[in-house]
């Protein structure tokens, strides 16, 4: 047990002097060809929250919609249904009325190509909705905590001591010598043990090492918030939304693509769906009611309460970025093309928002694909650095890089150009 216990600390201590950072130099995998707008993708990202193909949900069933309406009509509608209705198109108004005046939200950001693709997809939709295969592996509990293990071992040893002494006593009795209690034995034994200086020395050393390791671990533990999952004001389940209903992360965390922050959805975003979905699968109406309380909506009459004093939902922040570090989502999501899972783990399999563990992230397939392996706790600086050291910059897809950094290709010919090589490890890039 001592060995187990010391092993890690020895490694770490020795690391101080011996470490060569063991970087994985995997083959740079071929960057995916620049994708044409994929109808299915767009549909999944934007529509699935209200439309299910083959049956009516919040929005109408879209099977054969392209037959019913002209492409042009549809485009107008998708761009901004409200404007379209305002423009006084009869059909539009009709649908508006039919779905008791719940407005479909506008999709200005969809380019014409996107629309085309989307319509093509709607022309001949897949037979039944395909669920995205959840990324496997990841979150299986890695057995008992080491501490509990140790406790067990200790227990076993104690019982052993007890047994042996009692045996000894019984023997002594049979020999007619005077017996001694367990405690006496233990005391005398330790005394004799410590009588020897060398033993003293080793005990001392051992204690020292244990203390050192403890100190070391605490130091390394500073600011580590792995698997932090506070209780939230609303029992929101990522599993139900992102998982079962496979709503795209960016639908709610909309600014992740454009801004430094991923953004917590405002109540009106929730209402896009929950104007109609008034009761949840697990919690019934209680939790959803909280949204209505915030925004002032009457689920029975399905109307907003006039002059209601709205009060914001006060979520508890899970990913706490210290003030001194600058992180920008769009840099990583849009430019770097990372998937949310690569840093946040498989949220679509979890209910409460939480900080993913290092092991989980290392099992994320796309991390494996990009040959990224973390060896610092999630959301520590080391965690960022690990990735910056390993992940390759996709130079060819972005004219910024091709024009600004073509010289790099020459400079690092044959090597993979990591974020580090572009100065991604410089203090000033994140701290200012």
């Amino acid at each position: 047990m001592i060995r187990i216990n010391n092993f890690k600390s020895c490694i770490l201590l020795i690391a101080v002097l011996f470490t060569f950072s063991f970087q994985v130099f995997a083959q740079p995998d071929s960057a995916q060809a620049f994708a044409q707008p994929d109808g299915a993708e767009i549909f999944k990202a934007n529509c699935t929250s209200c439309h299910i193909i083959g049956k009516r949900s919040i929005g109408p069933d879209l099977t054969g919609v392209t037959k019913k309406r002209t492409a042009d009509w549809l485009k107008k509608w998708i761009k901004s249904s409200s404007d379209f209705i305002a423009s006084g198109d009869a059909d539009a108004i009709a649908i508006f009325e039919e779905y008791n005046k719940s407005v479909m939200n506008s999709f200005y950001h969809l380019s014409d190509e996107d629309m085309e693709a989307l319509l093509v997809y709607l022309e001949n939709p897949p037979v039944e909705e395909v669920k995205v295969a959840a990324v496997t592996g990841a979150t299986k509990d890695e057995g008992m905590q080491s501490s509990t293990k140790m406790m067990l071992v200790a227990l076993v040893l104690l019982t052993l001591v007890f047994l042996l002494t009692s045996i000894k006593n019984s023997l002594k009795e049979s020999l007619g010598q005077e017996t001694e209690t367990v405690s006496q034995t233990v005391i005398t034994q330790t005394k004799t043990f410590l009588a020897n200086n060398i033993n003293k020395l080793f005990v001392g050393l051992f204690v020292m090492i244990v203390v050192l390791k403890f100190v070391f671990d605490t130091l390394m533990g500073i600011g580590v918030t792995t698997s932090y999952q506070p209780e939230q004001p609303i029992a929101f389940s990522h599993k139900i939304h992102a998982g079962d209903n496979s709503i795209d992360c960016n639908y709610c965390h909309s600014s992740a693509r454009s801004s430094k922050t991923s953004g917590i959805p405002s109540a009106n975003v929730c209402m896009n769906c929950h104007a109609n979905i008034t009761s949840g699968t697990t919690t019934g109406t209680t939790e959803i009611q909280k949204i209505y309380d915030a925004i002032g909506y009457d689920p029975d009459t399905r109307t907003y309460i006039e002059g209601y004093v709205q009060k914001p939902i006060e979520w508890i922040k899970v990913h706490n970025l210290p003030d001194l570090a600058y992180f920008n989502h769009s840099q990583h999501v849009t430019v770097g093309g990372l998937e949310c899972q690569q840093c946040h783990g498989n949220m679509e399999e979890k209910t409460v928002g939480q900080v993913a563990t290092m092991q989980e992230l290392n099992n994320i397939s796309s991390n494996k694909k990009d040959s990224i392996e973390f060896d610092h706790a999630t959301l520590t600086m080391g965690f960022c650095i690990d990735c910056h050291r390993q992940s390759e910059v996709k130079m060819d897809e972005n004219d910024y890089y091709t024009s600004m950094h073509q010289k790099m290709k020459v400079k690092y010919a044959g090597q993979k150009i990591t974020v580090e090589k572009m100065g991604g490890l410089e203090c000033g890039k994140c701290h200012y």
Binding site: M220, V224, H376, M381, G382, I385
Partner: protein, 459 residues
């Protein structure tokens, strides 16, 4: 047996026997403190506490509590630091270098000199710590693996060299000191009667590591002392050289000078010996060691002071010459400004105390007088403090761009902290003089027969 030229004056007066030595050395430990001791002790304790308050205030509100500004970012803090480090040099020098040179007269002073070293360095080490804007993050200067990826220190920085140099110097000095202390603790242990003072007995037997004075142990003892001396000697030189590099490797005119390392080391010895004298002259009275710390010892030290003092003076002149010879207007102005600028008075004090006063030691009368030596040693200490002040402040306050030129004046906190360290230093030293064998009696006994007055007179 060792021989010694008869013309040499005895180093131990008053016909001592081995046993007398034992008695004399252990007297302060066994006996009660006299009133001088109490006066000095309470005085320095008060200073110490005042210093602590000032430090607390600094850490509480910010370095702004000091007189520093955007141009002069170091002043008293680093001045004191270098001053104390300098003082901390004589100790190891005496015990190491003089040991290598087989100077017997070191034996009756090296113990205290080393004590002074250790306490001095302790004071010095305070300043790099508290001069930081965020001392609670001081551990950033050590290469500790961390969750930052790992984030390391900068081995190009002279300040980091300091960190290593000072910690090494401090710890090695402590070891050197302690190795020598073990036999003497043993001596005290063996004199303590377990009945009268059991606690003390326990304490000293703990401290003496169970020393029994076997022949083999003595053999190893001597070898170890010799090797440690061999290691400590270059260490002494390296430490102050490195401290001087804080300045020498910078580009501030007046700092950027290749002469600094030797010049600082000499200065350190200079001030160190002065401080040793100050202390010993007090101590021989306070714990009555007149027959072991004789005027001869003082004279020998004075000679060294005379030497180093003259060398330091030469360094000053060289500096001036080089600045002129360099033809760099910034350098030239820096030194011109030292001598004639707003801080001319500091320069004047430095010159008188460090260059002129030691020259008085050419006169035998002064060289062999306790009173004169005591006064002059104080002068030298002051002078050396001002040397550091001059180097740091007058160089900084007018460097390259006149638009940034300004001046520095200390706040009460600056002064308080300095006094505090003096208090701290003396507190430690006085405690030491009551609880430690203040003279390396084992070594001393080994020379009794060759340099003791009695035996000298016999011949």
């Amino acid at each position: 047996m060792q021989k010694e030229a008869d013309i040499r004056d005895p180093l131990i007066l008053g016909n001592k026997t081995y046993h007398d030595i034992t008695k004399d050395i252990s007297r302060p430990v066994e006996g009660k403190a006299n009133k001088y001791w109490w006066i000095l002790f309470s005085l320095s304790l008060v200073l110490f506490i005042w210093g602590i308050l000032c430090m607390a205030y600094t850490i509480g509100t910010g370095i702004g509590a000091w007189g520093l500004n955007k141009t002069v970012n170091w002043a008293w803090d680093i001045t004191n630091f270098v001053w104390w480090i300098g003082i901390g040099h004589a100790g190891t020098l005496i015990s190491a270098v003089l040991l290598l040179f087989r100077q017997k007269w070191r034996m009756s002073i090296n113990r205290s000199a080393e004590a002074m070293t250790i306490f001095g360095v302790a004071q010095a080490a305070l300043f790099p710590l508290i001069h930081m804007g965020r001392p609670w993050l001081a551990y950033y200067v050590f290469p500790i693996p961390n969750q930052f990826g790992s984030l390391w220190v900068n081995f190009n920085s002279p300040l980091l060299w300091d960190v290593f140099a000072i910690s090494t110097y401090f710890s090695v000095s402590v070891v050197f000191w302690y190795i020598g202390l073990i036999p003497d603790f043993a001596m005290i242990r063996d004199r303590m009667s377990a009945t009268i003072s059991p606690m003390k007995k326990k304490l000293y037997s703990f401290l003496s590591f169970g020393w029994s004075g076997k022949a083999k142990h003595w053999q190893r003892f001597e070898e170890v002392s010799l090797v440690l001396a061999g290691l400590a000697t270059p260490l002494v030189f390296s430490v102050h050289s490195i401290v001087s590099m804080d300045f020498a490797t910078s580009i501030v005119p007046g700092w950027h000078t290749t002469i600094f390392p030797p010049y600082f080391v000499l200065g350190a010895l200079f001030s160190g010996f002065a401080m040793v004298e100050t202390l010993l002259i007090i101590m021989r009275k306070v714990v009555s060691l007149e027959s072991y710390i004789t005027i001869k010892h003082i004279e020998y030290m004075n000679v060294i002071i005379l030497l180093t003092g003259s060398l330091v003076g030469t360094a000053y002149i060289t500096e001036l010459f080089m600045s002129w010879y360099s033809g760099v207007e910034f350098e030239q102005y820096a030194f011109l400004n030292r001598a004639t600028g707003p801080y001319w008075w500091a320069y004047a004090i430095m010159m008188t105390c460090n260059v002129l006063t030691p020259q008085l030691y050419w006169i035998t009368k002064i060289r062999t007088s306790f009173v004169a030596t005591f006064i002059l040693s104080i002068f030298i200490n002051i002078g050396m403090w001002f040397e550091r002040f001059v180097i740091i402040v007058t160089s900084l306050h007018r460097d390259y761009l006149p638009s940034a030129w300004t001046m520095f004046s200390p706040s009460f906190v600056d002064i308080g902290i300095f006094l505090g360290t003096i208090g701290f230093f003396f507190t430690l030293f006085l405690l030491y003089s009551r609880t430690f064998p203040v003279i390396a009696q084992a070594e001393l006994k080994s020379i009794l027969k060759s340099s003791g007055s009695e035996y000298k007179n016999k011949k």
